[in-house]
Each structure stands twice: as structure tokens, then as C-alpha cells.
Symmetry: C2
Subunit: 596 residues, 2 copies
Amino acid sequence: MRTCYTGQVCLDHLDQTVTLFGWVHRRRDHGGVIFIDLRDREGLAQIVFDPDNEAAFEIAESIRNEYCIRITGLVRNRPEGTINPELKSGEVEILCREVEVLNASVTPPFQLDDDNLSETTRLTHRVLDLRRPQMQRNLMLRYRVSIEVRKYLDNLGFIDIETPMLTKSTPEGARDYLVPSRVHDGQFFALPQSPQLFKQMLMVSGFDRYYQITKCFRDEDLRADRQPEFTQIDCETSFLNEEQIREIFEGMLRHIFKVVQGVDLDATFPIMSWDEAMSRFGSDKPDMRVKLEFTELTDVMKDVDFKVFSGAANQAGGRVVALRVPNGAALSRKEIDDYTQFVAIYGAKGLAWIKVNEVAKGRDGLQSPIVKNIHDAALAEIIKRTGAQDGDILFFGADKAKVVNDAIGALRVKLGHSDFAKEHGLFEKTWKPLWIVDFPMFEYDEEEERYTAAHHPFTSPKDGHEDYLETDPSKAYAKAYDLVLNGWEVGGGSVRIHREEVQSKVFRALKINAEEARAKFGFLLDALQYGAPPHGGLAFGLDRLVTLMAGADSIRDVIAFPKTQRAQCLLTQAPSAVDEKQLRELHIRLRNIEVK
Amino acid sequence: MRTCYTGQVCLDHLDQTVTLFGWVHRRRDHGGVIFIDLRDREGLAQIVFDPDNEAAFEIAESIRNEYCIRITGLVRNRPEGTINPELKSGEVEILCREVEVLNASVTPPFQLDDDNLSETTRLTHRVLDLRRPQMQRNLMLRYRVSIEVRKYLDNLGFIDIETPMLTKSTPEGARDYLVPSRVHDGQFFALPQSPQLFKQMLMVSGFDRYYQITKCFRDEDLRADRQPEFTQIDCETSFLNEEQIREIFEGMLRHIFKVVQGVDLDATFPIMSWDEAMSRFGSDKPDMRVKLEFTELTDVMKDVDFKVFSGAANQAGGRVVALRVPNGAALSRKEIDDYTQFVAIYGAKGLAWIKVNEVAKGRDGLQSPIVKNIHDAALAEIIKRTGAQDGDILFFGADKAKVVNDAIGALRVKLGHSDFAKEHGLFEKTWKPLWIVDFPMFEYDEEEERYTAAHHPFTSPKDGHEDYLETDPSKAYAKAYDLVLNGWEVGGGSVRIHREEVQSKVFRALKINAEEARAKFGFLLDALQYGAPPHGGLAFGLDRLVTLMAGADSIRDVIAFPKTQRAQCLLTQAPSAVDEKQLRELHIRLRNIEVK
């Protein structure tokens, strides 16, 4: 057996004989001696093969990169000048006495230290890709996070209870992955989009505090950084109110950051209403590292000649805002053009701007294609409200509120992450957690001409908002909260409805009739009748959280065997065709393809 | 917020005012006072409502079973004679000062303390069924086991790495659950039967020590105590041999039993070869609590007149054994008839027996319908080998070895668990772990006329058995091991093949041709070429382990939301019909059923 991990050999082992297992990371011949950097999951160590030891030297000569070997040797100081302070083992080397090749390797298709590999190469050869030290670190980090989550929740009396993977399809929300039943001809299971209803059932059963780190599934349209299966830290508790629930889970995040990263997050996370977040940042997950925010101008623009502004300001649901960028007058025409193209992605028809050269000069101090169509009073109000100073630039969004929020919200982040922002103190490199609370209960779906649930239909309305469910759903706000970290929604949850009559009112507001509600959610409505306790909870996205902590580019870098954006596993070639016999047993046939 | 769980109120809280949440377990009026047993996950406490407190008393009068309430009151000693030593709170009661009904309950469909509920009732009303104290204890136990598993493995440097749920169908072994792909027309994912190949990939990637507590799926024919989805404690390690791996995992079982149950298992678990287990017990998972074993008689019976014995003894693959039951001559004719019917379930055509009344009298001391057809030498050898004593009974099995092993093996367990066995010291009520090792690599499938893998095709042959893969697969034994506890296989694993050429040989022995091997397992064969380390592991069945520990009747009693034996969830009514639109998106249609 090994003495320790290869990466852990250090001065403590000086003059000891150690046995190590690992992979040949690099081999080089130097002055008649062979050096091998041996690698395992904990790091590297330098092994020296002296020609005096003929047997070992001969084997060392045959060894190539990625061979798996066992070595026994003496730990000694590295010669002066060859110490590597970046390695734990950097002050020592091991003089090999005995070496055994446990398994040879063909030449790998790429160098492990090549940082420019395509995603396709990496996922096809995932087994080798996972050998890269960064990937080892990422998955170790993921593990440390999950085990610390468990410790924290265990201490608070939460218990891990497994909920089913083969569940019922309820086509609200995202698209389900379906699993045909062999026993029940023509029927299907669905993979869970989340354990939402099961965890609520567990609260009704009296388990009081539940958690689970579990896979969830959504067959959504594929876009960047989504996986068909993803991992949720899913939690629920009884008898606590919104504030108490948030306190527990911000404590969890603080614990993880402290223990795993050595980072102290804010002692109390700021709390912001959804209304305020949308008003100031056009986003319900604002990146608070960015020191830029919206200035509301809708009321100011109603009577200006510039039709883009006055049109938006006067239309129902229209919005006009400015985004003041301190010192932004230095931005070049090219940069402004690029940002104009960027906001177009979000549906903006243009990007109006004013460079503020000299506030004191009034209209003459402003440089812009649009100022001539804005009257003096409006210009003065813009300057006053934005607090613009000499040298700033103001960008404008004017459209339906959604387009303005999306476009100028994205511009805020884009600009805020730019080198310009970093150089001008508009970006603070730190961790910025933030609770967003008081979400609307419903969103209006123009296409379906009905309200849909903004969170999910089991979210409790705020106290006093119950009547709005029947009179004006648009006024109903929810006991819902998201935990946002550096612009990523890392967690979200709510207090749930625990009374059957309130749940039925929400179904009615969603135009789910009684029969449909019974067919889909009868078990929930039944359960709520048996003394269901007040309860609520939260789910964290583990993949996202770890990606943030690892500083990784993609959630695929913190998942051992991810799917591509086309929902394929390039390693195993899943999905794949299956035998006709299998389909027959499942009582299904293919719609479009003839099977041999 | 509550002071503590209801079940935890005790003398420590004497004279304190406490706030408790819970459910009304029982309510009774006695001498003008109302008593409520309030229940939460930690137990019960007695709440007293005095009519002097009119407001609280009035509410208490309206309260019914399973109402969810909050109470605040003073903890005081129970009156003499009303102390309940079975409850943690049994020495105190709480005089209610204030009570709030958090949620009323309609009358439950059954009493929570009714022990004679049908499975259908329990699973349909699972939310209420889970409120029963026994079910709460079972799921708590399951949680304690899983968290202790994690602690134990974490200490040893194992790391939890998640493997995919949407994987590739490889129709070896059991039947896959399939998931149609929406993006890839005509293709399917499969839910994992186990993370076997992924964990091997992780070893090749250098993660060295892996574990995961994860769901696995097998669409098998339904029989007692199987679930379509079940939970595996899945482990793998590199660089260790069989003995070292077993040592780690028997340590894990010892740790769990010690910490969770307060039970000391054997300091070293006995190890028995598969050959010996089959020979002595007719089973590869013998219940060692039963003090009965087979006596081999095949060679003795070749020339007896009794055709049932001689026929079996002379047929290829035939076997004749005796099962000696000390003091069994006391068994009645009725009991023997019942056992005869019982072994018929396993294919035995009868159950021959000899009652040993007086050994000293030779043939005359034996009572049996069959002795007249067995010559003296054989009779003497039977008595000698079995060690039969006056008052014993010998049962016989004679048939193909499989039938004998199944039937007499089952008889051994059935008899060994009977009251007779318990009264006569043939059953030891204790924990009896046992390793079964050295399994055959292959079983011969008569129907398909080929060998199939006894464990799975990735299991390493014993040292020196590699050549048998090509010359005579039936002689090849495997580095495989099962952990058996009281007759249940609770864990199983093996050292894996880590060389590509050995893996290819095994595929050939299984008549999987090169093209097929590449299509199905190409990624494994590739991975083994890149310096795959020696590795092996083990998987425990969490459901079974916890069922054993809980002393539960069925694994359904340790799973929150199990399926029935017909693979249905009676709570949510899954599986269910789905919309035609969903099927269309998945490029499938139903074979037999018209959809509206």
C-alpha cells in the first residue's frame, strides 16, 4: 500500500522510504538521469532515476506519459536552485529504488496541460480530460461543498429523505422527460423537475426539516450552460416564516464559503424587493459588484419631441430609463457601436446616448444625436436625476418595460464587467450576495391569455394579498425569495400554501379548473386537508454555485460527465438507437424512423 | 419559534414556559379537563387544558385528531401514578396557556396506531402513513445510516462524485428503463442500472476513491421486495487488492452498526468461498444464524435402488444431499407435509426424509418410506456423514444441483426460522455477517447456449485464471465478493479488469464480438488503454440494509414514497397517460392504444 498520496510527499518524509502510485505527468532526461513528475489527485512529486540502479533505470527509459506506475524510493532534499515553491512536494524529490509499471498508456490524443482544447475533444476524451489538475480540483471543490452542506443541515436537524425519480408527469412549467411503463401499457413516468410536491408531502407527514442533494430534469430548449439533468440542494422546513427560512440558508452559504473557500461573506445579506431590483437594475438577479444603475425617466419623456422616448413613455407598459456611466464620455464611437449591437440581441431597436462634456453649459455641454429633440426641462431633469457629472455618458433605453429591462440590464452587466469599468472603479471584485424578495405571484401570458405562476403554483401570497387572487391577480405578491450571488441566481424558494382553500384559489387564478386540479394535484389538495403545517423552503443550484466558486467558465467544468448543448454524452454516445424488442416491450413505436 | 421538539420536553424544562408545534395524536376529556397528546417527529408530550383558561379550553374543545397546533404553556410534574416511563416527556405535562390551530384536519381515513392496514391503504394515504411513529423512526434510521456512511468514507478520502442519470442503453443484464430523446429523433437514453462504468472511468481519471449514494433502475419482472428504483451505496477505489477492499467495507458496516445501532459486529467477518457456500448451504447468501447444513451424498447414492437418489446421483450436474435437523424426529406428519409443499415451489418433486429413532439399531432404528430401497452401506454412510443422533430427522434433496440447492437451501432457512428451530437452539438471534468470495466468472445459459457473466463482464478473473477465459470459461473464478448479513446480500463487488486485453478476452468468452464490444463498450476499452490503474469496489443496497436494521417487513417500509409490486405510485397515480403533444415531441407513438 502507498505511504501517502504522491502530491503529499514533503519534508516530513525526509530520509524515509515511501511507496507511491500515480501517473507519469512528464518525463525528461537530464545529464544521464531520468526525472519523472508523478501525478495523482493530490498533486505532483519528482521521481529521480539514477543509472546506477540499472533495473529501475531501464524501466524508466521505457516509461511514457500517462503510464500508471508504482514506485518505492528514498525522499531527499532537492538540490539548491531546483526547489519548486508552487508544489507541496516542491522541496523534495524521491530517488527511485524500485518501479513497477501497473499499466502502460498509448499516446494521449492531447497534452493534459493544453488549455486550448475544444469542448468536443474534452468531452469525447472525458476520462483524460478529468485527469487535468483543474478538473480534479473542480470536482474536489464540488465534493467539499456538498459535504459541508450536509454537515450544516445535519447540525440544524434537517434530514435527507430520498424522493422518487419515477414520478408523474404534470405538464406545468418546463417539459418533462418521460419514461414509458412496460407494466402499464400506454402510460408514462416523468423524471422529476424538482422534488417540490414530495418535499411538501414530507412536511405534511411531520418530518419537519428535510433536505436532499438530488438530480432534477428539464427537457428545455438548449442554451448555454444548461444541462438536461442538474443537481439541486433541496430543502424544506415547517413552522418558520420567510425571515427565519432565509436566515438558515444564508447561514448555509456563509458556512460553505468560510469552510471551503476561507471567505467571509457579509454577516447579513442585503434584502431587496423584486420591484426595486427591476426598477434599479432591470433584473431580478442584479450583479451588485457593478456600480451602475438605472435612472427612471418614463414620466419625464412623455412630452419630448424624440418619438422613441415619448412613444415608449406614453405606451401602456412602456419604460424609459438612463444608465449613467461615470467617466464614460471616454468611450469611443466604436465601443458605443458595439454596445448598440449588443443590446439589439435583447430586442432594443437602438441605443441612444448623451456624452456629458460640461454640465455647467447646459444643452451646449451635451454631445448627442438626440438632444435637439429633447426640451430644456426634460434635459435638466435627466441631468438632475442621473446626477451626471462632466465626463460621464448616459445610455438610454426606451421601449416596452421588458425590452428596456433586458437590454439595459444586460448592458449594465456587460459594461460593468469590461476593462473600462474595472479601471474606473465601476466594478468591485468581491462576493456580493443579495436576497430578492416579494416577487409577483403571477405573470400574464399574452399568448395563452391567462396568468401563469411566476414561481410555481404552490407559493403562498403575501399576508393580505389573498383576496387579489380573485379580484386582481396582477396585484398579488408572493412570499418568494431568490438568493443572488454576483448576478447568478444560486437559490430560490418560498413559503408554500398550507391551506387547501388558498391552493384552490391559486389554481382558479391560473385557470386550472377543479377537475384538472384534482386530476393533477389531487394528492396535494388531499394532503393539505389533514392538518398541513405552515412550511416553506429553498433550493440551491449546486452546479451553478460550484461553478461560481471554482471561477469556472461553464457548469460543464464542475460536472464529471456532462452532456453537450445538444444533450449528448460524447463519451458514451448517449442517447442511442435501441432494439425494436425494447420498444415493443414498452408498447411504443418510433414515429418517423423505420427500424431494421 | 418553538422551544424544542414536542417529543423532547422533559424534566429539564420544569417550571419553564415552552412553545411547541405538533399534531394532535389523541384527545381525551377527563374530570372536566382536556388532555391532548401532542406529536412531532421526536415523540409525544401531554398537554393539559384547564377550564379556568376559558379561551384555550374553548379552542381545545374544538380540536380533533391530526389538527396541527401551536401551544404555549408551563411545564410541570405529572401527578403521581400518571408517569409514562416509555416517553422522554413521560414525567412532565404542559399546562396550556395559549393555543393556536395552525391548520384543522378532516377525519383521517384510519387511526395512526392501527397496525392492520392494507398496503393499498397505506400507500394511497402515504402522507398520513408516514406520520406513524414507526415510519418516522424508519426514515430517521435510514438517514442516520446514510450520514454515517458518508462520514466513514469521507474520513478515508473517498469523494462523492455524481454520475449521469441519462445514460446509454446497454442491454446486457437487466432490462433498462428508457427515456426518449426529443432532440435526437429515434434515440433513447437509459436510466442507469448502476454507475458501474462511470465509476470505473473515474478511477481511470485518477480520482482514486469514489462513492455515491445514488438511485439505480431496473425494469425487472416484479416480485416481492423489489422496487423499480432503488438506492445503492456505490464505492470504488484504486490500487487496493481484494482483501484491502473488503477490509474497508466491512469496517464501514461495523461503523454503521456501532454508531447507529450500538451493536458490535464481529471484529473480523468470516470469509467463505462460493464453492463452500453452495456445498454447505445451497446458497450464495447463507443465513448463518441457522445452525443447519447440507451433507453431501451424491457419491454415496450412485448405486442405491431408490431411483430418485440414484438417478440424480448419476446424472450430469445432479446432486444428492441430506439436511440433518437435530431433534427433528419430533416434527409431525403435517409439518413434514407442509415442508414438502414448500420445497415444491423451488422445483423439488418431493421431500424424502428419515427419522432417526435409534442409531444403535441400524436399519431398524430408522423410520422412513425410503430406507427399504437404500442398501446398508449407504445407510451407514448417511448416518456417519450427517452425524445423526437419536431423535433427529434427515431431509433429502436429489435432483439437478440447482433444484437441490434452491429447494433444500430454502428449506434450511424456512426450518431454521421456525419456532421449532428457535426452541431447539437451531437459530441464533444475532447479527451474522459473512463474506462470500471466489465466485465463478461465468454461468452457462442453456437457452442462449453461451456463457453469461455471473457478476458483470468487468470483473477480474482470479490470478492464474486468465487462460481459462479462452480454454474453459467454466473453470475461471473471479475476484468477486458479496457481503451477506443474516441471509441477505447487502453488498457485492469485485476487483475490475484494468487491462484492455483481458477485457477483450472476457467479451470474447461471452460471445460478444469485437464490433459489438466496440459499439457498446468502446469508451471503456479506450479508457483502459490510457494507464488505467488496478481498481475495484463494492456497492451496498441501502434499502435492504436499512430494512434489516429496522427489522422491517419490507423495503417499502424504509422508502418514503415506494411503488407497489405493480410498479405504481398510489399516492400520485404514476405512471399515467400523457398528452399526444408530448409523445409527438419525443418522436414516438403508442403501439396499442388510440389517443383522443
